[in-house]
Symmetry: C2
DNA sequence: ATTACATATGAATATATGCTCATATATTCA
DNA sequence: TGAATATATGAGCATATATTCATATGTAAT
């Protein structure tokens, strides 16, 4: 039987299926970005921060106090959330206030909650 | 100034905010589960598998061929997706067909796409 | 039974990542 | 200018994780 030409150790059982699905797959880069986005959601500290910010904007210190974690740990995580464009910030004197940057955050949360709830 | 009583190295600047948000936070366990769920979405191989299965059910070999990866790697990832209740399977002779197990998957995907697209 | 094939899985390795610690930067106030 | 405070960040460490390799399991056909 003929081996396929990809870097895979399997025979293709259903070539038609593979070919058809292959055509519908989004660009590699898009899927990578998507995984990177969900990776940001995939940490309980960041989830907690996002969850808190859904209620209202908060400063770094207060988030740290809320979660019982160090300012440094929170600041590191906020940087990741910032890079993912999930939070934005505004400075007011020495204090930096963070808030959600995107309406999709709530939607993604809602779907996630729905999944972990119904079982 | 008074230090807070949590394991945090910050002063609480806005005690009212922290107290109020604290009351709205879901249970620790729920947030942990939520992070665990998103962690599953946070890998490009698993994202690709889920994306493919959105089109139709597929067997392990064909997924491996589609993604150009080994059967073993795909099988390991399918186990993780199975444990997260994101995919289900049916056996037909030697072949095991996987498909999406949950309508939330598509919704979570859609929101994720929306986020990574609009920029 | 034996062979072939599709899939599953345990161990090992390489890489990624979250937190800590120390320190830097930014802003305010005296 | 100097001290105090809020935040940011680089390095290091401990842990988690994705893939590979070898092998086990399950099913069908001869």
């Amino acid at each position: 039987m003929k081996r396929n030409d990809t870097a895979c150790d399997c025979n293709i059982i259903h070539r038609d299926v593979v070919d058809r699905v292959s055509k519908t797959m989004p660009r590699e880069e898009t899927l990578y970005d998507l995984a990177e986005l969900f990776k940001v959601f995939g940490d309980s500290t960041r989830i907690k921060i996002l969850c808190a910010l859904q209620q209202q904007e908060m400063c770094v210190c207060d988030i740290a106090a809320l979660l019982g974690m160090t300012q440094s740990a929170i600041s590191h995580q906020l940087r990741i959330l910032k890079q993912a464009r999930l939070v934005k910030y505004r400075r007011e004197g020495k204090v930096v206030y963070y808030s959600l940057d995107d309406e999709h955050v709530s939607n993604i949360f809602a779907q996630g909650f729905a999944h972990v709830s119904h079982r």
